[in-house]
């Protein structure tokens, strides 16, 4: 477990929306650009890593109650996407790293904290 704020600091993410949600605890994550797959496979509270910037990502994150969205590869949210994210209070975070690296670092961080807690 880690908070969004800790993840932002550790992965050097830029916060584009949801500045007030940095205390949210993150227990898991999901990676995918096919929104149908993300809707089917992700879980509540996941931090979702994607390269998709269409405004439907906000709807999917709201529907699935995600902790937030990381846009990988330096992708910036489309204007309407960002507006919607701000309105719905969904954190959008931008990573300059690839989805692969971002997911690796996030996994490492969450799982090592889990180990630390249980150990």
């Amino acid at each position: 477990m880690a908070t969004l704020g800790e993840i932002v600091a550790a992965l050097d993410l830029k916060v584009r929306s949801g500045e007030d949600k940095m205390g949210t605890e993150v227990h898991g994550g999901y990676t995918g650009d096919l929104l149908s797959d993300v809707m089917a496979g992700s879980k509540e509270g996941d931090l979702w890593i994607t390269r998709q910037t269409h405004q439907n990502i906000v709807a999917v994150a709201s529907l699935k109650d995600h902790a937030g969205i990381i846009l990988a590869g330096g992708a910036e949210p489309a204007a309407d996407t960002l507006e919607k994210a701000k309105r719905e209070g969904i954190p959008i975070l931008v990573s300059n790293r690839s989805a692969f690296e971002t997911a690796g670092m996030l996994f490492e961080m969450i799982s090592s904290q889990k180990t630390g807690r249980s150990g």
Partner: protein, 245 residues
């Protein structure tokens, strides 16, 4: 005016599409379309349209109407059929697409992209990466097509790959698509699975990449004549025109 049913297959690729069979030449497409009894077709290559005029020319006097079209890939990698009233509108849209389509084709990996005329002679090769996606968002494609008088129809919405639901999870009912296309299965079973799409009109088409696939799925549209204007009326259920499901 007396309406009649017309058989329409509005999604046919030519050999210009990298994944289109090389036998998909203008003359062969027209001959096959007639053989299977189609009245109206639309030529929709991936992000390109150079062969449209040649299929139209090959169809002259053959009793089959060829509408100018393109299957454009949006930034979200959603495939969409853009169908126009005339070649000029399509060419204006093509300019927009080419401004936003990066990369060059490598035919060893993706396939050849020949421009073939109405005599089935090779006129040239399209060097662009037609298999790629444009930088245009779904909404930008909608605006670019509608502002040029065209119809925009998300392709093969039942399919996971490059279909709008697969890519974007669901269809925003506020988006003014002129219809949705399905290429396999029945419209009624798709409607049962997706009751939220009830307001949309559905087109069935073949998405033919090979000659034998032309007309394997088609739409019966009740029109006064086979034309773009009549098709538009049918998709918007106006003046008695409609498409059968």
């Amino acid at each position: 005016m007396k309406l009649k049913p017309f058989r329409c297959d509005l999604h046919i690729h030519t050999c210009l599409s990298p994944c289109g069979d090389l036998d998909m030449t203008p003359r062969a497409i027209v001959a096959r379309a007639r053989e299977v009894g189609l009245d109206m077709i639309a030529v929709c290559d991936h992000n390109a349209s150079e062969n449209v005029r040649y299929v139209q020319q090959a169809a002259e006097g053959k009793g089959i109407v060829v509408l100018p079209g393109m299957e454009v890939s949006s930034r979200e990698e959603v495939h969409l059929l853009a169908i126009f009233d005339n070649l000029e509108s399509l060419e204006a849209f093509q300019e927009v697409v080419y401004r936003c389509l990066p990369g060059l084709n490598d035919e060893r990996y993706f396939g050849c992209q020949p421009i073939v005329n109405e005599f089935d002679e090779v006129e040239g090769i399209n060097e662009r990466l037609l298999i790629g996606a444009t930088g245009l968002s779904l909404e930008e494609v909608l605006t670019a097509v509608h502002s040029r008088g065209g119809l925009l129809v998300p392709s093969h919405v039942e399919r996971q790959s490059f279909g709008i639901i697969g890519q974007l999870g669901f269809i925003d009912p506020a988006l003014p698509f002129d219809a949705l296309e399905i290429t396999s299965g029945s419209v009624s079973s798709f409607r049962e699975k997706h009751p939220e799409l009830a307001p949309f009109v559905f087109l069935r088409s073949s998405d033919a990449h090979f000659l034998t696939q032309i007309g394997r799925s088609f739409t019966r549209a009740w029109l006064a004549e086979a034309s773009f204007a009549e098709l538009r009326l049918a998709l918007h259920r106006l003046e008695g025109r409609y498409v059968e499901e």
